[in-house]
Symmetry: C2
Subunit: 167 residues, 2 copies
């Protein structure tokens, strides 16, 4: 084991998304056990002006795949954000995991100094690869991942930190 | 800039905790503007059986300082978890930031292969340093950090992802 840009992106995203699948599956089982439609969870929000669960999952997927692709200097697969059901969201996360594994670690060699430009609606951000990973890719990814977890937890799904961490 | 265990622990925690301070300060200002006691935020929870804001901050602090100390093979400063007010929590985060800066980056050289043992109530976890950072330290840290953010957001504090990220 050696520290590398690949280990600190792919290695973090892969484990976290695998746990996200597990937490989502517990949401499905909980809706069944409590006899409500799982779409209530899919559309739930922590505040009226905050993105719903479905968008949190799409964005966690985006930050994982797009960040790895940017570091590898390749184009990420475009996913159309058409999911409306938990089954479709589970498939989205699995597809994201497959993509992460398809990027060879060698493609990230030297990416710590690679210039990365992010165009947002109202401004453009410029990073070197290391800083991009430290203060953009990882915080953004976890922001949406943990918010998805919190949405399920807030709605009474029987999950705990051990489900989130996987150990 | 070069990727290192120090860059991927200290560098991530420091930026994130600085943004946590900012978000907490917006909570203080919002309570004042809406004319309620900020202790409502300090004691708020996303679910009745979930830890309140005060514990989320203490745990974010713990995972930052204790993880860096473990990687450096030094004893972390013990903080007594006696905070009950937002002012005390702000001081706790500042003290944590000071500690992070006091650990020399050289102390983490080679820490990617350092054996790390975590004793929990009911089990013992063993990691090498890199895996500890990937699947324990970073996810645990962001778990509590993002949950603290979500608690404020859920309670109507006027924060957005830009406050969380700082760019």
């Amino acid at each position: 084991m050696q520290i590398s840009m690949h280990a600190m992106s792919h290695g973090v995203f892969k484990k976290a998304l695998s746990q996200l699948l597990h937490v989502m599956e517990k949401g499905v089982a909980n809706a069944k056990a409590r006899n409500f439609d799982v779409s209530v969870l899919v559309n739930s929000r922590l505040a009226p002006d905050m993105l719903p669960f479905v968008r949190q999952i799409q964005l966690a997927s985006d930050f994982a795949k797009n960040s790895l692709a940017r570091l590898a200097a390749v184009d990420p697969p475009k996913m159309e954000d058409t999911e409306t059901t938990m089954d479709e969201l589970l498939a989205r996360v699995k597809k994201t995991l497959d993509y992460l594994d398809s990027v060879p670690s060698a493609a990230l060699e030297g990416s710590e100094t690679r210039p990365i430009v992010i165009k947002l609606r109202d401004r453009t951000l410029e990073f070197q690869g290391l800083e991009f990973l430290q203060i953009w890719a990882l915080p953004n990814f976890f922001f949406h991942h943990v918010t998805a977890y919190n949405l399920l937890r807030h709605n009474g799904v029987d999950i705990g930190k051990r489900d989130f961490l996987g150990r």
